[in-house]
Each structure stands twice: as C-alpha cells, then as structure tokens.
Amino acid sequence: MKEFAGCPSSRTFDFREKATQEEAPTAKVQSQLRQWPIQLHLVAPTAPYYQGADVLLTADCVAYALGNYHTDYLKGKSIAIACPKLDEGQDVYVEKIKSWFDDAKINTLTVLIMQVPCCMGLVQLAKQALENSKRKVPLKAVVVGLKGEILSEDWI
C-alpha cells in the first residue's frame, strides 16, 4: 500500500486498542466550564469573564484528545476555541485576541494546540495579536499529542 503523503492533520490513525486497554475514571468528572459561548467568533472579548483572567485559547480537537482537559487546564480559566485550519475570518480572531490583551487586560494567555503542523497557526495568531497590542502579557503554548500526551509546554 502506498505510504500516506497528504496533510498530517487528516492522516488516519486507529487507537482503539489503547483506548479500551486503559481504564477510564468511573467517578463523574465535574465540568470546569464557567461561560458561554466559547467559539472565538461568538465570544465578546470584553465579556466579564475575560477581565483580568487567565485565558485558554484551545484548538477544537484538543479537548477530545486530552483526557484531563477540564481538571488540568480549564479549571479556574476562561476559554475560547478555534480551528486555525478550517475557520474563516481569522483576521477577526487576531483583533479579538488583541482586545483580550488591551481591553480585557487578561493576566495570561495559554494556547493549547494539537501536534499537527497546521495547529501551530493558532499560536501564530496569538503571537501576531501580542505584537500588535500595546499591553504585553505572558503567552504560553502547550502542544498535545494525538494520544493525549503533553509534548511540550513552553512560555513564548
């Protein structure tokens, strides 16, 4: 069979064996979501829950891959989700992220992305917004592997 030569973001993997071997927690996991809406096109960047907050900008796929997303990352933070590959109007995204820095005066921004190369676009949007903003804020990038492992976690 010919080796896969397309975009890594749509390459097929089958993890069924691993997922069934590892025990899932039996206790009910409490949602840590503190707001609605969450999609970056729908949120107002100056909404009260962004004021002075630690914000997570999460690529759409991350919360499905990362088993402890709610407890390890979302807890105590405000959120927006986006897909840097499929979403349109990403110039609006840059303006909204910039408004988090300048208007909502957020405390930190953590960008969670998948390991696929196109996901890096979300970090680039955040960096561009930070360059354009008057106020500087710590920016962190967390890269999640396809099987939910944390591949890197670095301040930028």
């Binding site: 630690d54 405390n107 930190t108 710590p138 301040w155």
Partner: protein, 268 residues
C-alpha cells in the same frame, strides 16, 4: 539513606568529603557554599536532574556513605518533569535574566579597572563612584528589590535556597559599603579587596539564579502567578525602571569605551 536525605549538605560533606566531589561532577556546587544548610533531598529536587542522573548520583553517594552495604536507593519526590538541556524561562524570570546581562557587563570591567587603578586619579575615582552608583541603583535597588519585594514573596522565604540568595544580597551590600569607604579614604588595598570579593560573589550568585533558582521557581509557579509577577515587574519598570536602566546602560557603555582607549595622562 533516608536519614541522610534529611541532613544538611554541609554536615554530609564534612563527614564524607567525597560527596562534595560527586555533586560537583553533576554541576551542583555545594562545596564552596558558605551556608550549606540545604537538605540533600532538597538539593536533588531543586537541581532537577534527569531521572538517570538522579539514580546515578544517589547510588554514588550511597556507596560513599555505606561502602560495605548494598542499600536501596530512595527516589526524591518531584513536582515536575525532569529538565531538558535548554533552559526556558517564564516571561517574568526572563526579565530578571536579561537584567543580569547589564550587571555582568559591569562585573567584567572590574579586572581592567583594578589593573589601571590609581587612587589619586580623579578619573579612576569617578569611575569607581559611578560603579557604586550603578550597583546601588540598578543591581540592588532596581533588580534585587524586584526579587526581594516581589518574586521571593511567592515562596517560603525561610527555605534554605532563598536564605542563601538573601545572604548573598546582604554580603554584596556590605562589600559595596566597604568599597565606598575605601574609595573615600583612597585605600587601594581596601578597594581591591572589596571589588574582587563583590565580583566573585555576584558572578557565582548570578550563575546560581540563572541556572538553578529561576528554573526551580518557574517549575513551581502557577500560570496565574506568572501573569501576576509579569504585571508587577512591569509596574516597577514603568515607575522607576526606564530612567534607571537607560542611565545605567549609558554608564556601562561609557566605561567600556573609556577602557578601550589609552588612559589619560594623570597629574597629581
């Protein structure tokens, strides 16, 4: 072995000097430390060795302490993953590392200053007075104050690692006081003694902070705390930093340029 994990390192090294050599081999510089009250377990945790290095260092220490026995090697509990080779700082600690660069530039000028030192030369005395002003306003009031008034407050200030750092700050201030007096009195030996002592102290202190303290702090700070620190450092920079930084940077450049040119003729 558990008992020694909870023993101050100075006590272990004086009983088993070989342990000091072993730690040196892993770039853990406890031997020259004048305090030495850190516990062995804290030293292993703070230096964040890779798992292999930790096992190896603990096994070597165990062989020195118990040469005739095979004993189980305890693992030191970790709060975070073992270090990668490259140090990546959070934005607030990166600011402090960047500030060290200017301080190191001044420290680098000390040997040349001592080599040309003429206590009766008004030019040399002026360089010394300006250097003292640099240490007091930039290294101490601006940079060390950020650490003491802000960063260290996020940690247990009675911990051995912070006591060691605060002790260095106190010793540095005392050398600078003595240096200022020596310059006033035109006491060449006093100037040489305290400038050299300050250079050695700060060189070692900056290395400890850049390579050990700040990475350890970064591993223990939450995301929220990193944001708070960055914002508080930004306030200090805005209120007092910009003027001080510019003035001190200009002073370093001026002194560096002066040392590149031949010394002016000095008339007594």
């Amino acid at each position: 072995m558990e008992r020694y994990l909870n023993t101050p390192i100075k006590e272990i090294i004086s009983k088993f000097p070989k342990v000091g050599e072993i730690l040196e081999a892993y770039e853990i510089g406890c031997v020259p430390c004048t305090v030495g009250s850190c516990l062995l377990k804290d030293i292993i945790e703070v230096h964040n060795l890779s798992e292999e290095d930790e096992k190896e260092v603990m096994a070597r220490i165990a062989r020195v302490i118990y040469p005739d026995k095979v004993i189980p090697i305890p693992q030191v509990p970790r709060k975070s993953k073992a270090r990668s080779k490259e140090i990546k700082y959070s934005p607030p600690t990166k600011k402090l590392v960047d500030e060290h660069v200017l301080i190191k530039r001044w420290i680098a000028l000390i040997p040349q200053l001592l080599e040309r030192l003429d206590v009766d030369s008004s030019e040399d005395r002026e360089i010394l007075f300006k250097g003292i002003d640099f240490i007091r306003s930039y290294a101490d009031k601006f940079h060390h104050a950020k650490e003491e008034d802000i960063l260290f407050k996020y940690f247990d200030e009675s911990s051995d690692i912070l006591r060691t750092m605060l002790d260095d700050h106190t010793k540095g201030r005392s050398h600078v006081r003595a240096l200022a007096e020596a310059v006033e009195k035109r006491d060449k030996q006093g100037i040489i003694e305290h400038l050299n002592a300050y250079r050695e102290l700060l060189t070692e202190h900056i290395k400890k902070e850049d390579e050990i303290l700040y990475p350890w702090m970064d591993r223990n700070l939450s995301v929220t705390q990193v944001g708070e620190l960055y914002s508080k450092f930004g306030e200090v920079d805005e209120i007092s930093g910009n003027g001080v930084t510019e003035r001190c940077r200009a002073l370093i450049i001026e002194t560096e340029e002066k040392f590149e040119k031949p010394k002016k003729e000095v008339r007594p």
